[in-house]
Amino acid sequence: MTLNMVVNRKPVSVEIEPYARLLDVLRTQLKLTGAKEGCGIGECGACTVILDGETVDSCITLAASCEGKSIETIEGISDGDQLHPVQQAFVEHNAMQCGFCIPGLVLSGKNILDKYPEADRERIVEAISGNLCRCTGYKQVVDAIEDAKDKIDE
């Protein structure tokens, strides 16, 4: 079947199997490998993408259900070499180690600030609680997202 969606502000049409997972369509067919597979059951959040303004686990999202929808992936949030303020804050706060969970954490951080530009620490922590990270202990990650709050242009 043909799937039509908007990925990182560009319309795309891809031939997919009806049972295909959004994660596989993104990684294998669209070559957007920033979304990672960590568990395959929607627990770890490494496959997080933003679907019509909400973060979803793309490993448990049926690709066919994304017809006509808009998807933002980690590849789509920076402007050329200009990092998104959340990405820049992650760099400055050393908010990463192995980096495997980081695309998902950055997207969860970006999305909560898009929705609540004044999000407090508690709300940020809740927003990233679906993104498991085994390396950082989350402290520098939360510090980074809090710091990015003031640097996002309206």
Binding site: L32, G34, M96, C98, F100, G137, Y138
Partner: protein, 811 residues
């Protein structure tokens, strides 16, 4: 107080941005599962559902007949079904744990791989198994490995058959423990237990193996923690010589000791499939497969007995430390060396007798996991110290202060601690920084609460830095300057997420004098540098970087020599700042420069700073020359632009029969304070705050050091409170993150990292180990804080709801 920040470095002690930061936040970083090649196909493994069974029939014909299935291999189809490291690539005859691989397939798509695995028919005859440490050491236990030995007079003995892995047996015999106990006023004896724990790196084990059709080189792009170790599997399975086996480490999505044997196994299996099909083969473990075949933190049973004087002085320490090694093992025989060396805690004890050994069972194997036995051991020892303090009616921090190792003391192996040892200062600082006694008093008032009770505890620990007596701690590094003044560094040690590339860039910058942003470190490719051992044992900075320090100093001297010639002065009067060489001359105001230290020759300088050098050329003290010009000059005058160094450690000399001698070049020390609240109605443990203090010798990068400490706290919280892979007769009760629970952002406590530094001549620029110390005492501190809150000891971790509430698990 020896807190960080009193050392004088150009680029160490500085918050330098990670080299890989931008790649990681943009999603550009390429991990092994992201690698693709034209014509690539997919591999998969068929696994045993039984813990102990004979394979009585296997039929692969239906799988082979499926169109698009390119290869189906069993042990009969390959030259070497068992790896060099005990684990079978492909099992034949008897399977010994759930998840053991009996067949592998390669097919054009992942769906076809699944179809092929389902089409393989295997009949098993189930056998009785051995699962627990208690079962394994029973006299009448069935023997699951032919080379297992039994106990004689309470210690492993090769004359008796059994399930003990003899090579993993390490005794410690210091002083005369009988004499020590005879001198004691009081003797305390306790037992403790730990369970299977999963690494839970978010990236599962992944690789792509391909063969170059022209030169025959077999290359694995792999999520390898230790690329040279992985190469051993690649050569083993492919039959190719090492110079035709190449492992390229891709960005590694976490490892913590876990991506050693299973990554080796899938690289080996993929190589077999690649050679059988002539195509690049990708193999990516599902999370469930990763749980089934990746190594676990060894479960331990501890038995400790201590003899003390009334004043709290420990005079004798006896113990056994037995670990569950699983069905196959190539780790316990190294890990238990460390476990034995640290078997009497961070304490000065004259008489010590301990025995440490592993047993074979029909379980998934134990392996390396951040700490390499220390989180389990420190948990047991530190609970034991608190139980001793209770028996003596003594404050447990005072008990530690009384016995803690200080400079000049002898460790359990009889090694004199010659380097600066700041343990007492650390304990005192941590007590003060956490307001320990005030909180202890406040929390004591919650002890009769029916609902929520608070507790606080302080634990101390120490750790031998690097490989120590396990194996020689040697390694290679190379620094290459390019004509544009940029620098490439290379090392046999690997970036595993810990920040090694950044630390090495800082160390190289310190040696060369250039800014760290001039330096690039691509990563380990086994075709580009000699085998430098494994990136394990928290050795990367302390010992592994010695070769980087030396190579960079050598390259720095080479560049300075040319800069001196270009500036017209001896190189000793040349310095570098912001990648520009200049004449370093304190006498500028007196309008002269001094050259030739021995002769103190003075050369006059005119009012414009001009002088004539030895060749009569007019130079100026204001001249500078860029690194790029220096490098370019060296290139076109035929001078070397590279320095290679192989660094060997000093001899140690531990006698493995007595466990006596120097075990490590030096030691790092940690003090951790944990505060918890225990819900006495549900058993829920809320970890409120963890303050983690570490003597790192020299802090290379405070950002990455703090990152290690925060991450170590979260991992220690999991070990102490929630993390256990429940195993029942070899079957894993958790195979994914829905039931295996480690901390989320909402679970982690308030964290505070306290970094201590001291003078230590052994490590690179005085640095000591941190990666493992950062987590090794956290579980112990949390368990001790739970015990403080409840008023009852914790003798088994994780202290989950049931153990916190009932002191045991519900079966």
């Amino acid at each position: 107080m020896p807190l960080m920040g009193k050392k004088n470095f150009r680029y160490l002690n500085k918050r330098i941005t990670r080299l890989d930061a931008v790649d990681k936040v943009t999603g550009r970083a390429v991990y092994a599962a992201d690698v693709e090649f034209p014509g690539m196909i997919y591999g998969g493994c068929l696994r045993s559902p039984y813990a102990h069974a004979n394979i009585v029939r296997m039929d692969t014909s239906k799988a082979k007949a499926i169109p698009g299935v390119r290869a189906v291999l069993t042990a009969d189809d390959v030259a070497k079904p068992t790896s060099w490291a005990d684990y079978p690539y492909l099992c034949s005859g008897t399977v010994r744990y759930v998840g053991e691989t009996v067949a592998i397939v390669a097919a054009d798509t992942l769906d076809l791989v699944q179809d092929a695995l389902r089409a393989i028919e295997v009949d098993y005859e189930e056998l009785e198994g051995v699962y627990t440490i208690e079962e394994a050491i029973k006299d009448d236990a069935i023997q699951i490995r032919a080379h297992g030995v039994g106990l004689k007079d309470g210690v492993p003995n090769k004359d008796v058959k059994g399930n003990i892995f003899y090579d993993s047996y390490f005794p410690i015999r210091k002083g005369d423990v009988g004499k020590g106990f005879a001198e004691a006023d009081i003797i305390v004896e306790r037992e403790y237990k730990t369970n299977f724990v999963e690494h839970s790196y978010i990236e599962t084990e992944s690789c792509v193996v391909m063969q170059d059709p022209v030169d025959g080189v077999v290359t694995a792009h792999a999520s390898a923690q230790n690329p040279f170790f992985t190469r051993r599997y690649l050569a083993d399975a492919s039959g190719a010589p090492f110079n035709k086996c190449r492992v390229v480490q891709r960005m590694l999505g976490g490892s913590f000791g876990g991506k050693e044997e299973l990554v080796g196994m899938i690289v080996g299996r993929s190589a077999m499939l690649c050679l059988a099909t002539g195509k690049p083969v990708k193999m990516v473990m599902t999370r469930e497969e990763s749980f089934m075949e990746s190594p676990k933190r060894h479960p331990f049973h501890f038995h400790y007995k201590a003899g003390l004087k009334k004043d709290g002085t420990i005079v004798a320490w006896e113990g056994s430390q037995i670990d569950n090694s699983g069905a196959y093992n190539n780790q316990t025989q190294f890990m238990n060396c460390r476990a034995a060396i640290h078997s009497a805690g961070a304490y000065d004890i004259p008489h010590v007798k301990t025995d440490t050994y592993g047993v074979y069972t029909n379980n998934i194997h134990g392996g390396a996991f951040r700490g390499y036995s220390s989180p389990q051991i420190i948990f047991a020892q530190e609970q034991f110290m608190n139980e001793i303090a209770k028996e003596l009616g003594m404050d447990d921090v005072e008990l530690r202060r009384k016995n803690i190792l200080v400079q000049g003391d002898l460790t359990a192996t009889g090694q004199e601690l010659v380097e600066e040892t700041i343990t007492l200062e650390m304990i005192d600082h941590m007590v003060e920084a956490t307001d320990y006694y005030k909180k202890k008093e406040a929390y004591a008032k919650t002890k009769n609460n029916k609902e929520k009770r608070k507790g606080i505890a302080l634990v101390s620990c120490y750790r031998g830095c690097g490989y120590g007596a396990e194996t020689p701690d040697a390694g290679a590094a190379m620094c290459t300057a390019n004509e544009d003044g940029s620098i490439l560094i290379n090392s046999g040690l690997a970036e595993n997420g810990q920040g090694l590339k950044t630390a090495y860039a800082q160390i190289a910058a310190e040696g060369i004098g250039c800014t760290p942003d001039r330096i690039n470190f691509v990563g380990v490719d086994t075709h580009s540098i000699p085998d430098s051992g494994m990136t394990v044992a928290s050795r990367g900075t302390v010992m592994g970087a010695q070769s980087m320090r030396k190579a960079s100093l050598e390259l720095g001297a080479m560049l300075k020599d040319t800069a001196g010639k270009m500036l017209g002065v001896d190189p000793e009067y040349v310095d570098i700042k912001d990648n520009e060489y200049f004449i370093s001359c304190k006498e500028v105001n007196q309008e002269r420069i001094v050259r030739g230290a021995a002769s103190l020759e003075i050369i006059p300088v005119d009012e414009n700073g001009h002088f004539l050098n030895e060749q009569g050329k007019q130079c100026s003290i204001h001249d500078t020359v860029s690194m790029a010009d220096v490098c370019n000059t060296r290139l076109w005058t035929g001078k070397s632009l590279a320095a290679f160094n192989w660094s060997e450690p000093r001899d140690l000399g531990l006698d493995h029969h007595t466990g006596q001698g120097d075990a490590f070049p030096t030691y790092s020390y940690g003090v951790v304070v944990a505060e918890v609240e225990v819900d006495m109605e549900t058993g829920f443990v809320d970890v409120l705050k963890v303050t983690s203090g570490h003597d790192v010798g020299t802090c290379v990068n405070p950002d990455t050091v703090e990152g290690q400490i925060y991450g170590g706290i979260a991992m220690g919280q999991g070990l102490g409170v929630t993390e256990e892979v429940p195993v029942h007769k070899g079957q894993l009760g958790s195979k994914n993150f829905d039931s295996y629970i480690f901390p989320t952002a909402m679970d982690v406590p308030e964290m505070e990292a306290i970094i201590f530094e001291c003078e230590d001549k052994e490590g690179t620029y005085g640095a000591k180990s941190l990666g493992e110390p950062a987590t090794e005492a956290v579980g112990a501190a949390i368990a001790a804080a739970i015990a403080d809150a409840k008023g009852e000891p914790v003798r088994e971790i994780p202290c989950n709801l049931e153990r916190a509430l009932l002191g045991r698990t519900l079966k």
